[in-house]
Symmetry: C2
Subunit: 284 residues, 2 copies
């Protein structure tokens, strides 16, 4: 029987380190600050925001929520974003996406200051991610996957890792991060043939596709570590992941639950990036 590995201990460990770092920074007269930019008031954005604010507050990071009307014009939004870029008290910027349709993400992503872009919206950070350049910020969710693996002492070096999904939100970034950790990485997706045959050779299986309980026991190698990045609602209306946890826990050595898995770690990664941004901006 595999171990259910939860996100909270990972988040707590990261927060503990960050709290000490922020205390040090405050001793130097520096307080890290995150600006959260939200257009409209979508429920899922507000829920994440609440978690992020709570996490930052507990660590000692200042926060400011910039809420804009659902119908803000692109030029006006860009002007606002430029002001936040220039605001020296702000070290990190998180922008909720997708935008309402009058705002063109393909334009706006070039506006956010790369050095404050703590969730990899800017193409500059996307390029750094691909290059393995650690001066950039990888997106928070894929980074959370890596932190979970590290926290639970999962060996990535030379391990066979399979990633299901090739999105820019999960699959591609997590593949690049696993590669940085020296895993041999196989990227699977909707066109992959005989997916269980491919993924059942992997020591580490990361799933991020958005299909409730898609991954069954036949996808999993005996003793594999399974990280479930999906968040879905099942037929009974309950939250569930992309992995059928019950069906797979017998075969895996470790498996993250949904909820209480990867999702619990992302805000601490966000906080970690804000602190890192603050230090870089202060040449520390």
């Amino acid at each position: 029987m595999g171990e259910i590995i939860k996100g909270k201990p990972v988040a707590d460990a990261i927060s503990e380190v960050l709290t000490a770092e922020v205390n040090d920074l405050k001793g130097k007269g520096i307080t890290p600050k995150l600006a959260i930019v939200r257009v409209g008031a979508k429920g899922s954005d507000i829920a994440y925001e609440k978690g992020a604010l709570k996490r930052c507050s507990s660590i000692g990071i200042e926060t400011e929520v910039k809420e804009y009307p659902e119908d803000i014009a692109q030029d006006a939004f860009i002007e606002e974003l430029k002001k936040i870029n220039q605001d020296k008290t702000v070290n990190g910027i998180l922008i909720f996406r997708p935008f309402p349709k009058q705002l063109d993400e393909e334009v706006i992503k070039y506006v956010i200051a790369a050095e404050k872009d703590v969730d990899c919206f800017s193409p500059i950070n996307v390029a750094k991610l691909m290059e393995g350049d650690k001066t950039g910020f990888a997106p928070c969710t894929p980074t959370a996957v890596i932190e979970i693996l590290k926290h639970y002492n999962v060996n990535m070096k030379g391990a066979n890792a399979a990633v299901i999904g090739r999105s820019m939100v999960v699959g591609k970034p997590v593949s690049m991060l696993l590669l940085n950790e020296n895993a041999t990485v196989t990227i699977c997706h909707s066109r992959t043939k005989n997916m269980p045959e491919v993924t059942s050779k992997a020591d580490i299986l990361v799933v991020g596709v958005g299909k409730a309980k898609m991954v069954t026991a036949d996808y999993v190698k005996e003793g594999a570590v399974v990280i479930d990045v999906g968040i879905n609602v099942d037929e009974q209306g309950n939250l569930c992941g992309d992995v059928d946890t019950e069906a797979c826990v017998g075969k895996a050595s470790m498996i993250t639950p949904v909820p209480a898995g990867v999702g619990s770690v992302t805000t601490s990664i966000l906080a970690k990036h804000v602190v890192a941004a603050c230090k870089m901006q202060n040449n520390l």
Copy 2:
């Protein structure tokens, strides 16, 4: 016995299409132009330049070589590059790298205009490559790999592809391009354990590591297509690839030679990118 698939027929086919396109453009009063930027006069740069000039000339693309002294200062070089960015007669820019050490690639890569950056030096094009955004320019060599596979009617969709090497020059970009073609992609590298076991499951094997004849028959699946991106000099002083072609040709269904393989296709990809850049810049 597998077929040795050469680069020349691929390059010729691409050139033929481009020649017609350039004729069309000239009919509209537009002549595509490539600027080649070279610092110093390294033999390998000059050899590639010679091939590029010949290819462009045969297609009808104008060229201009900008040679700068080996000891040019960074500021002066950046000023020159900005002038080329602004020169409306220039549609594509190829810059030879690596630079002499007074020039910081990490600074200069942000200077080249992304829309003229036909060999993926700019982080904007790196990000587009990772995103699968076809308005960008992928690097010429990995693109040549894909064009060879297409030319020889190799099915990539749903195929298991293995890439040996994770450089930004070959491995990572070719992995992203294979993913765009809907292959299931496994990225192997120096830390991969039991590499032959991994790669011998691949229908398509792409090798770009720079180790003479590293890939022997045990790396190759019976009937696989093998693309050799390496260019090395063997113990006898002859050019050779990363693949031991003689040892593998019996097992592969198709295999590219070195020389006369991938390397023969890159300048036609360069020309293709210049024509594409020219069309985009003219809103065609």
